[in-house]
Subunit: 303 residues, 6 copies
Amino acid sequence: MRIVSLGILAIPFAARPARAQLIEFSKQQLVDYSEPNPFDRLADGRPKVPDNLLRQARELSAEEIWAVLEEKGYKNQYADGFRILHPDKPMVGRAFTVQFMPMRPDVEEVAEAKAKARGMGRLHNQTAIDMLQPGDVLVVDLFGKKVGGTIVGDNLFYYVMTATKSGGMVVDGSIRDLNGISEIDMPAYFKDVDPTPIGNVMLTGINVPVRIGGATVMPGDLVVGDREGVYFIPPHLVKEVLDRADEIRVHDEWTKKKFAEGKYKSSEIYSTPKDPKLKEEYEAYLKKRLEEIRKQRAASQEK
Amino acid sequence: MRIVSLGILAIPFAARPARAQLIEFSKQQLVDYSEPNPFDRLADGRPKVPDNLLRQARELSAEEIWAVLEEKGYKNQYADGFRILHPDKPMVGRAFTVQFMPMRPDVEEVAEAKAKARGMGRLHNQTAIDMLQPGDVLVVDLFGKKVGGTIVGDNLFYYVMTATKSGGMVVDGSIRDLNGISEIDMPAYFKDVDPTPIGNVMLTGINVPVRIGGATVMPGDLVVGDREGVYFIPPHLVKEVLDRADEIRVHDEWTKKKFAEGKYKSSEIYSTPKDPKLKEEYEAYLKKRLEEIRKQRAASQEK
Amino acid sequence: MRIVSLGILAIPFAARPARAQLIEFSKQQLVDYSEPNPFDRLADGRPKVPDNLLRQARELSAEEIWAVLEEKGYKNQYADGFRILHPDKPMVGRAFTVQFMPMRPDVEEVAEAKAKARGMGRLHNQTAIDMLQPGDVLVVDLFGKKVGGTIVGDNLFYYVMTATKSGGMVVDGSIRDLNGISEIDMPAYFKDVDPTPIGNVMLTGINVPVRIGGATVMPGDLVVGDREGVYFIPPHLVKEVLDRADEIRVHDEWTKKKFAEGKYKSSEIYSTPKDPKLKEEYEAYLKKRLEEIRKQRAASQEK
Amino acid sequence: MRIVSLGILAIPFAARPARAQLIEFSKQQLVDYSEPNPFDRLADGRPKVPDNLLRQARELSAEEIWAVLEEKGYKNQYADGFRILHPDKPMVGRAFTVQFMPMRPDVEEVAEAKAKARGMGRLHNQTAIDMLQPGDVLVVDLFGKKVGGTIVGDNLFYYVMTATKSGGMVVDGSIRDLNGISEIDMPAYFKDVDPTPIGNVMLTGINVPVRIGGATVMPGDLVVGDREGVYFIPPHLVKEVLDRADEIRVHDEWTKKKFAEGKYKSSEIYSTPKDPKLKEEYEAYLKKRLEEIRKQRAASQEK
Amino acid sequence: MRIVSLGILAIPFAARPARAQLIEFSKQQLVDYSEPNPFDRLADGRPKVPDNLLRQARELSAEEIWAVLEEKGYKNQYADGFRILHPDKPMVGRAFTVQFMPMRPDVEEVAEAKAKARGMGRLHNQTAIDMLQPGDVLVVDLFGKKVGGTIVGDNLFYYVMTATKSGGMVVDGSIRDLNGISEIDMPAYFKDVDPTPIGNVMLTGINVPVRIGGATVMPGDLVVGDREGVYFIPPHLVKEVLDRADEIRVHDEWTKKKFAEGKYKSSEIYSTPKDPKLKEEYEAYLKKRLEEIRKQRAASQEK
Amino acid sequence: MRIVSLGILAIPFAARPARAQLIEFSKQQLVDYSEPNPFDRLADGRPKVPDNLLRQARELSAEEIWAVLEEKGYKNQYADGFRILHPDKPMVGRAFTVQFMPMRPDVEEVAEAKAKARGMGRLHNQTAIDMLQPGDVLVVDLFGKKVGGTIVGDNLFYYVMTATKSGGMVVDGSIRDLNGISEIDMPAYFKDVDPTPIGNVMLTGINVPVRIGGATVMPGDLVVGDREGVYFIPPHLVKEVLDRADEIRVHDEWTKKKFAEGKYKSSEIYSTPKDPKLKEEYEAYLKKRLEEIRKQRAASQEK
């Protein structure tokens, strides 16, 4: 098993967040709990899946991700049941998480007093939105709230689009202004739509671990949305997911080519060719195509 | 508080409807209960929101309407959860309401006898449909019935389209012939689709107050449907809603313009600019744009 | 077919209700639409199923009622899906109906003005409750509302119990104070329970036709609730339902007696004995028992 | 009533299927239970609705089918509530049915032993898929399973498309790889989508009677899917359905033409013209158009 | 792995069932597919879990059964979501399965003709009910049907009680006459209650494999119902389940005794005592109690 | 507004919890966020609503609590939709909260390493259960999980009963072993029941703020469960709730007494007597009864 070396992390950080939020999750905690992260980190401590991998991930589908995550024992990284704004458009980015809880005046009052004591204002949805970076996907736990659970209308949706460079948004809650939003070119996954503005809630955490459906999302996870749902991929598994996806795609390519020939029953080809000669043919094809794909990718990244 | 002057209404009317319907709501009652209506009335007593305001209302979204209705204490004028035939096409018109109840032979028999005594036939869906006027939206309370709750198939849908000049239809119930209907260019909101024709129900009221979802709809309400759901606006609030919508749209225009500049955090601009100079800039912009919009609208109406 | 003689009703009544309610259903209308009623009427025009039949109806079950109503073409007189307060206790009484709609200030304002003009107060739940008679079952259409849809708490529940002499209550909505109510000995059927008081609704009709689930309820219907759900029986069918129930019960008695003997397969006895001698035995038994039952009933009513 | 002559069927067949499946339905049984079939049969015993009727059936809508089936007493041949892959594309073909049950190791072990004893492998989804013929629609009873209830991903979906010549697929269960599948031009109806592969089930029957929603599907039924749902038409009713559909379509054509003239109320024209002259006009139109349609169809089939 | 010896079964049987049912499952198939059954068989081929084990099984709870079935890989033998007639009363017996499908006249007509040809009547619910044996639990797959999905009313429920000696009933469908049924002392699990009699279905199989919720039920399975739901235990696992349950019960007994002493944290005792001396104490206790229990059981069975 | 004095709290505490949990909420944070607490605190920092008030709170119903909480702006302290183990038995105690999230191996691995580094074991349900104190109610956020979401079976339920002195349990998740649990005399509210043990989750917080349904629960809240649902009362409002409840109960007592006299309409008495003399009578009654109640309570507490 991998050794967790908690003591020797080189990234410096303050012990307490500058913000006053009910659920605190310090930069140190974030670093600790994403310890196997192989990439750099953003200033806020989140793992930074590199931009070229983000681009590469735009071709991922839920099934390709499932293969690796299942194998590694990650059974709870997928959420579905969303309305999808632009089903044809993939969503890929780094998770920026926000958590809300039902409003409770005594707690909110203390939180405000604490914020004031640090010279800050009350936490609210724009506090979080104003922290977004290019490549982020805003992941919001609004506990499925419809009325008063609308994280953004079209104005803030537009702002999120500009701030994240069209990263995207996953909301276990709702949005408003669907008419306006549907004209903006950023992917979004949400449970419902309502004309009311957000209300009767308090923002309790920014970049804290959150639950979205049956998934546990950590800040900095690679978020991938397709026509079915959303996957939250731990950064240390991203490379393996992408490599496996290449193989799966070549496999699919070859399989369909063979099916299109009309000479074989499906079980002769799929999932593994039964005939040793066909198997050999496939393996040669796989090898050749993977080389091509990787060469091509390297080339396109050099530009 | 506004004075309700019940006695001095100039519009003449018969005390009882010519129709024999279980739930009666006479022209007098209709006039009484829509007393603050500032517009003319249709021959049947319904308020007649003018055609130019109908045209203007085609740009309304649910959020813009919410702002005024919430402020005035109208919390129950919105319904959603519909399947929407043409989500890209707004629905705007005057509510023509129809109410059904589960069939009950003793009641239906009396209703028929009463109708016969007045030289009329039994009330059914076409009785109502044949009364539709250009600019109407047919609002049908079929208590969410699916099987046998199909107000129209494609023939009558086509007729409604010609009679209302593509006004539209909101059904708390279902339709049939979706294949045929989806080729007809009229907006429609319905709960479900079923191949059965309407049956096991009785028509109990035409242009009576009805409940659609959690909303109370009065005949003559301005009906506005967008991608999210349907708003039923009392006629006396229509002007205010439209004026406010102009302001909201200019506000959104300016906000997005500022966001697009990429120089500001969202909270510096939205919902109100913090910097007094920005605020001033916004207010000047608002003033100018509102003038332009209203001039343009007046011009287009003169044609 | 039965002749509907609308002109010759002897019962005098005022043309308009003294109350000012949005949905009016005058005493005349009530009389007209319950024309086949064979019984006396209450002062408010509702059919008065006699007290001795109410007593007899306490033994009815949903299946016994179904037999006659189905045969006569009444397919929509049953509602279920309720929480039942005292499942062991039958509910029997005359329907006293109340209808609510979502609050709409313009309509409510006119209704209040109209009420004031007649020297009355605003209609609300206690207005209706204060009109209840012994033997009534309060039937409330609150369109399934949970929060703010609580027709009574334990105080008014207690009042309804005293006023109706434990008649009962059917609410397509909710109640509050379940702790207190569960100690009061009156049957009740409701959709839900909530701690909020009734609100954001307006009372729109008292003793008007209402929809409860998929059923059409007329004021004065015989309401019968058992462990499964609630039947609303048109008064003119009550006698036939009760007579048929006697036969069904004797049939069940004999069937179970035969089954208990352990000599027969179920299909030899039920639903009709195949063996002519058994059939004869059954018919003799039926005749004898019906005589006994009716004699006994007559005797108990003389006391 | 039609005489069922069970003894004189000329088609030879083996008494037991070559496959070893838990639920057996032999070729003989299939022939017996589809006895009124007026068409040839496929090699596996299924009725073979002819190709030209399949083509003609592509214009059918659910309502047109309903008319004949309802009349003949077939009330359970329709299923809806599916997600529809290509709503604009009709689905028409011969039902090829597959049934799954939850995995149970003792039963599966025996089934495997039986298969082995006959020199075959374990039954699984590809066993069925490899038996598909051009013109088939794969009808799968996966008891609504989502996770692990995915009959195909994009590879096998592609194979089904090639094998059935784009026949189609109805799954009371789910599919995976929606991204890939949505680019393949074959109609499909399914309850859900999930990234997991099929698992924790056993294939228990191929071409056995299955339940899909509230419908009973027999192998060889004509399957017709439109924007609303799916109809399963017994082969002996296909001709009548198609003929009636021609009449309905002419009727709709004429009705809409009349409505478009704007001179009539809907009830003057629909469903039957009231004016005898109009009725005559309609009947002449119907006769003429039916002749044209049938001539045209005959012509197109000769080519 | 256990050897499946399909050829050498000593029990004689006819190759085809005497009944004419759409889904046939011959006595031979039944015997084959329940091959590991260690017990005698009933005349119809079903495994006969002995009466003394049925008695012993009355103490089983769902959790005790889960332990063994999970371990053996049987993940689909549990169903819940039922209304439970007598939650305090355990249900134990041998599964007698019945399957229905939606009515389809062409299929039903052939089935009737086939039955007639064999001198029998149409299959219906009483056909199955009349075959019940003492110790049976009637397991009915009515695909969750409510209206018209009522397998029995109180008369047939009473008959099932006498025929099975209060074995019980599991219905994926509904019952009628809940008032009458609730007075009869037999356990029953059903999805719903409705006043309509069974209709619009056809009986398609008696003692065939059926699906109940997510479980696969084979005729002869040991059915155990508790307050939570129903387990269907393959006969060859019954002994192991019962033995394990004894251990679990002694373990619970000892655990609670220790907890009641109030000296230990839960984790010191449960699920395994941490202190070696406590563990020793527990093991001695387990040994002693198991001996006592088995002695006592043997004694009670001798009587 | 109340001054939040964050600096001057006298209770000493460690800055970090001894436990290693993903979501940390230190004793200091707990103290800060429950700052208006007027009572002592438990050793873990939770407010300690005194035992005598717990006893007094056993008479509270949801409606009585609603009155004060609504007035003070606490709209999100109620949760319902639970299965209630002993509906006749009130549940009262101090909230001890536990939070779970879906299992995620990378996070869990770090948490274990952190725990190990502090000489502790992995956090699991018994870790929390072993910390329970007399008077606690265990409040568990298992995000509604059914399968694998079972916080306890009957052994641990028994332990919780002994540890909390029958305090109780609220689970947004499920339990197992309902048969065994239903014999144990402790109140419990849970969403579902399942035979599986807890699994595929990780414990992420003990005594952290949690969401239960639409409510925000803070450790130390007064938990009150009645037949309807569960209220979570902030400690600083407990006294006011109890005082108001006394008044409400006297009011109910008097109201029912008046209703029982049968001389008044409900609206003459309830909610406020209209007749000034009756009002006076009521006020005298209220004063006298409150004095009696408080005297009696004081007396009973002296014993």
